[in-house]
Symmetry: D3
Subunit: 246 residues, 6 copies
């Protein structure tokens, strides 16, 4: 009972199928005392494939973090590879908030000297590139590959996108000189384990990685620092559609 | 008539007084054929002092860019020093979109080998630092100073914040070895000219700088590239409060 | 009359034909109140294709800046893609001095997340690379391509070099994942507009970009900072061939 | 039983007291199914305060990793803030190997935008600086402070070193603008929790952090990549004192 | 007599044949007053092809530096391209200590704007990459090539490895746009002069380069700085197999 | 006779006194077979204290390199801390060309993990900073200090400037945590040896360092690479005052 902890896993898009995939991946690695609350915003974008989509998704992330706190969540995962709203969510939260891109990249550097990323549309490559720069991993990433299919192709049941991911991972292994591969989309979460086995190198899903990072921070008694620039937002009245965030 | 061009200057917060200040600064430098449309979102945050505020402000920026396009605006300025929603707005726009932090930093590197930034709250320093990194100017910035007053203190009519900005600029000139100073808040736009004169070095306001950058791009026949990752957002149905952005 | 402003555009090599091309490109974008004075040194190198050529050209640039000031020029453009003598010219000038490489690179980052450069001889690639580093744009440049023809091939009237530039731009668009292309030679100035149209992405000529940057700085009331390391040269007697620069 | 996992925590110096401290810190955060095996080399240096000490300690680390594998350890922690022998140990191990500097730095970036480090002797500062560069965190570290006492002062029972650490942490909080503090020595492991409470910001001990990272990697089914440059050492016969490592 | 100086060249692996090759290369360029003492550890690894090998080799290097000092060596060269134990050896030495990777890279930047590296096994590429980062030459290196043969293939008398090195150098010259090539293994020392002649560009052997660097430092009256973090190791009792290093 | 080699040491300013100082420093460390030819341009600037001065000095350097080659010089030193005209001179020369800033910085990284620079006027600091960036040593330099006296104060016979240099070196040793100090002006060349002794750490003069680098390159059979971007200047007719350089 009392020793159970609730971790909220937020799919920033509105796809229920993807929320399912993500929730499943989270539960598959969660600790015995962890309950996973997989959610997505009621309003927003059905998939996230650019900066515009990310800006909208960030609002959903913030609303969910607020709701999650009220529901007793002790930590939060942002389950989209662009980590939309990450620093904003950290301001709002007292517990840890970890993005799946961030988590996957950190984990990759612990098991290999360089990693490759396999993502969806070419236009999301720039997002990954900016994150590498912000997180400090520019020199740890050998290459970023796009399968050139939209995010939701991963949920169409045909397996075509999954097979493209697989092919790109095989190619990345052969050509990049990388020791690990990072899957660049929350919707690929369920592929990691099998690809790891098939390819014989770590293929890393950020959802699982982020859940373990949040659990780790909680076990260490660490939450988001409230000293300095991640302190709670300066109190001010939000108006209109944003009143919910007051 | 037909040779006039409309540039939209978006104050991402909801403060009408600051929108006035910004509009005035924009008009003061605009070219003879330029009309300035100074706007702010109807809903959002009264001031922007952190990542949370920025995430909310980004939505207002996007709504305004959409509205601006419909009103015939040929270019857009994002008039908050964090450049909230910049890349998302670029996806939405066909014309140029320039942020005031970006513009001020670019301009500073054209007139000095290094510059200092004077901003409002200490917690916004990290935002400036991330922008320096993203824009490539880490080595061009000697120091970032915060006056430790909230953004809206610039609009309280007392002049206290303005005097603090002035003091910090004087100190920065003396101590940083910088050749120019960048004012780190849209609400400081009306101070640049006088401080430039008093201090005897370029004190740069991003609002004016961004207006001139947009005008320059228009004169060069250049808009936001629609080839690659700043192309229009992938068509998808936005739901709920975001329907307005469809 | 009195509200007209003179901007000096300096072709650092001695080619009159190229000075013509550059002057034309400058005038094509100059504001209604701007007069363009396109000049080149009487003595120096007929084209600039390496560090040696640049060192010689820098002297011509300085002599022209001095002459330009005496003729009432309020700002100066250095119209060679290596920006030869840029910081030295800034020391000499009170108004703004902008190089065309610098201007084109800045502009490119305002309309795309990454750009490619198309230049002339392979041996000038290193010059572009050093400028990217100095200006902070290493991570914004996807690739630098050389057409492997000398600078003056652009002025031989055959159109061969122009066609090579065009082919390289098409190739760069296809392969680099860049949203914009920067033309890496003042002699390519007249190609930008047509290539922009043909390729469907911003193809940027630095001459036009630099003129607009200088106009922008002037409109903002900004000149080169005379506080610190761009102050006028320490007074000392120059001897021999350099007496002209006293 | 069978679901229990053994994690080996290697103190690279020969101090038994410090091995105790480190083992205690590891066990304090270890998961319910984790057994901690805290060890140190039989031969080597009593404390690690420079590159020479690190080179010697690396051999002890390798011997222990080899022994640990034979004892069934599924993962390994290198509990000295210089992470001596980290990449070499990764070659030797199949499971994950995590250094405490690495782990603490990673964790710090998840809870704050910048962190400070408090270490022992000034001469170890360069080691921390090199690790920041190797791991990609140069821009995330605001400052490195040294208390100017040798490592073993932390084990002399007087509490003087501990008080110095505390004072430096307080000073770092006040002056650096950091949101978190990283303790730069395995011998400080038992101070983190209390300092976190007293200072009101995350004070991070790498020992605990590394244990949680190893547990996380194990839960994710990830070990050190054996594809590429962290593969097992190329088979060759080691001679003399190194025969033990064959 | 008295004006002769002894420079110790340490082959960090135990291969006598390679020690011969290295000694010969050192003597070929040594000054008239320099005596070369080419040594290798009695115990350790027969070749160095990864971090594990390097960790072991570092001990041999330290033992040799200690011995060398006792024999009157005034400076030391570490003749393995990973520069194993470099900073540790500097702590131990009063005279200069120079690694061959370091020396070759420094020299390359003095004769070309960019260089390529040709090394042995692919798994050693990461070592070269880390050194480039540590030494500051990331932007000076165009590419790192591996011939995919083990180090000792250079000593098997067949000439196969030598021919592969030659082929790779030719390819690097053609494809990388580099002005110089650095040979990435001490065992390639005797190839530099001939390849320089054949290829018509500087092909740099680190052994010779390091000997000249040490001689240069000695002529300048400079040894390793004993102020700060390269001071002699903090005195402490080493135990067991390391007693020799006391 | 035939085995003697001539190295040309070029003082890029026109001060004969400084040329003397520099020549003396060069001869003090030159090898037994080396003849030093210390020269300065007949025309140019009496001292170099900014980018303008450097641009002029570069021409003198080129004229001297040309003359030096005709006089049989096998290598060249550019003896001003800004390394004016370095890459241009390399194009012109077949033998090695080394700048004193470059040489001093390289040498400093061989004897210490970080160094400080002591220079003359504050406005030259930016020049040193740009060189650090170009050479790759940004992270190896702890601080740059200016004594705030013009270059020629070093030649006024009063010793005031020398004492200021000494004081700044002492301060740098105490405050910067550096293991070595680089003297940032050719006119300080004769101070290095005594300051090294007095301060107990390497105080490095670039003139001596550059002479030894050139000698080293010659001994290694290496000259400036003529493959790629340092090849001889593209043949073209120089006009007017530059005819001498044809």
């Amino acid at each position: 009972m009392s020793n159970r902890q609730l971790i909220q896993v937020i799919n920033p898009n509105t796809s229920l199928a993807m929320t399912e995939t993500i929730g499943r991946a989270a539960r598959a690695v969660a600790g015995a005392n962890t309950d996973i609350l997989a959610v997505c915003p009621a309003q927003g974008v059905p998939s996230i494939e650019g900066h515009f989509d990310e800006a909208i998704a960030a609002i959903g992330v913030l609303e969910q973090v607020k709701a999650g706190r009220e529901q007793g969540a002790r930590g939060h995962v942002i389950a989209c590879f662009g980590d939309p709203g990450l620093l904003a969510a950290r301001e709002l939260a007292s517990g840890p908030v970890v993005g799946i891109a961030e988590a996957a990249m950190h984990v990759a550097t612990l098991v290999a000297t360089r990693f490759s990323i396999v993502t969806t549309l070419p236009r999301t490559v720039v997002i990954a590139r900016h994150l590498l720069q912000q997180y400090g991993f520019v020199h740890h990433c050998a290459a970023i590959h796009a399968i050139d299919l939209p995010v939701l192709a991963l949920e169409d049941g045909s397996g075509v996108a999954q097979e493209k991911v697989r092919q790109r991972c095989i190619q990345a292994k052969r050509e990049d000189g990388s020791g690990a591969i990072v899957l660049g989309c929350g919707g690929m979460a369920d592929l990691a384990q099998e690809l790891t086995r098939e390819l014989g190198l770590p293929v890393i899903d950020g959802v699982g990685a982020a859940v373990k990072m949040v659990e780790s921070l909680l076990a260490l008694g660490l939450g988001t620092s409230k000293h300095g620039d991640l302190d709670y937002p300066v109190a001010k009245r939000l108006s209109g559609q944003f009143e919910r965030l007051n």
